[in-house]
């Protein structure tokens, strides 16, 4: 099964430039974790099971999940917010943020899910 990665149409582009330049190492780890998450779903594992067994995946409610940069656990708390849509086999990349923007990013993700009729 192929799970396509799709950048959400309300993705905050100005945010990613800031993080991209500042956190190259943690971002590389986060993207490696995204590759593992994508490969896990592609192997037929349901998003719920993937979330339970992959330690870098965090539950953010309403179907939203966040992938962190671990390892390392300490230091920058980078998070990539995703919505895995089982019906369309797509992983929507909703936002990239750190601990300081966590609250807004989660609200942003929930809004995206509702607007797209998944909420």
């Amino acid at each position: 099964m192929v799970w396509e990665i799709v950048k959400a149409d309300i993705y905050p582009g100005n945010r990613e430039k800031k993080f991209g330049k500042s956190y190259e190492g943690p971002l590389a780890n986060t993207l490696a974790n995204l590759a593992t998450y994508q490969a896990t779903l592609a192997s037929g594992v349901k998003p719920e099971q993937a979330k339970r067994n992959l330690p870098f995946v965090h539950e953010e409610k309403q179907g939203l999940v966040a992938i962190d940069q671990r390892p390392p656990v300490k230091g920058v708390q980078l998070r990539l917010y995703l919505f895995p849509c089982e019906a369309c086999a797509k992983i929507f990349v909703v936002a990239l943020g750190d601990k300081s923007s966590q609250g807004d990013d989660i609200k942003f993700g929930h809004r995206f899910i509702k607007e797209h009729g998944h909420g």
Binding site: I5, E24, A35, N53
Partner: protein, 188 residues
């Protein structure tokens, strides 16, 4: 419009990195292909890292370390133990690149050996004998389909070279007399 991305690298490209950084990120992701496979198999088995550690008789941090290691930092022994804990066998296949003809010949030899091994599993139990016979019948049908595919294909090629009135079969570069072969090998 939502933007479809073919790879993780496509996502990284939109993050304002220079070529050098992009290359480093791509390499970082590629260098974890083995550890990624380990994590995927564990998640597929519905095991947490802690449960996996218990199965392997190691600490959770050892499992985590293995699942985040680069390809050059995972030994055959470590990967073998990990796979064994999940109920998998690890086979390391080393060979020179082979042509498709060599691969087909190799597959035939391998298949013949497997069939011999299978036949060695025969037991004097009616259920086992029935199950084996059913499988052999199904396998034979598949082989007949394959043989038919090969004969049709070779016949059509030969037909382009010369006009044939009936299928021509070459065995070890020797032409087989189709009519006499049919008589000799006719099923009774």
């Amino acid at each position: 419009m939502a933007e479809a991305l073919n790879t993780i690298s496509d996502l990284a490209k939109g993050l304002g990195f220079g070529e050098k950084s992009l290359h480093a990120i791509e390499k970082h992701v590629q260098d974890r292909s083995t550890s990624r496979m380990l994590a995927v198999l564990r998640a597929k088995a519905d095991l947490s890292q802690k449960e996996m550690a218990t199965k392997m008789g190691v600490s959770q941090s050892a499992v985590s370390k293995l699942e985040n290691a680069t390809n050059d930092c995972i030994s055959f022994a470590e990967a073998g133990r990990y796979f064994a804990a999940l109920g998998y066998e690890m086979t390391v296949h080393v060979s020179r690149p082979k042509t498709i003809v060599e691969r087909i010949k190799g597959a035939y030899i391998h298949l013949t050996k497997l069939v011999e091994d299978f036949q060695g599993c025969r037991r004097n139990d009616p259920d086992i004998l029935l199950g084996m016979a059913k499988f052999e019948t199904e396998a034979a049908k598949n082989m007949i389909n394959l043989a038919s595919m090969l004969i049709d294909s070779s016949s059509s090629k030969l037909a382009q070279v010369e006009v044939l009135t009936e299928p021509r079969i070459l065995v070890d570069d020797q032409e087989l007399d189709y009519s006499s072969a049919s008589r000799e090998h006719a099923l009774v």
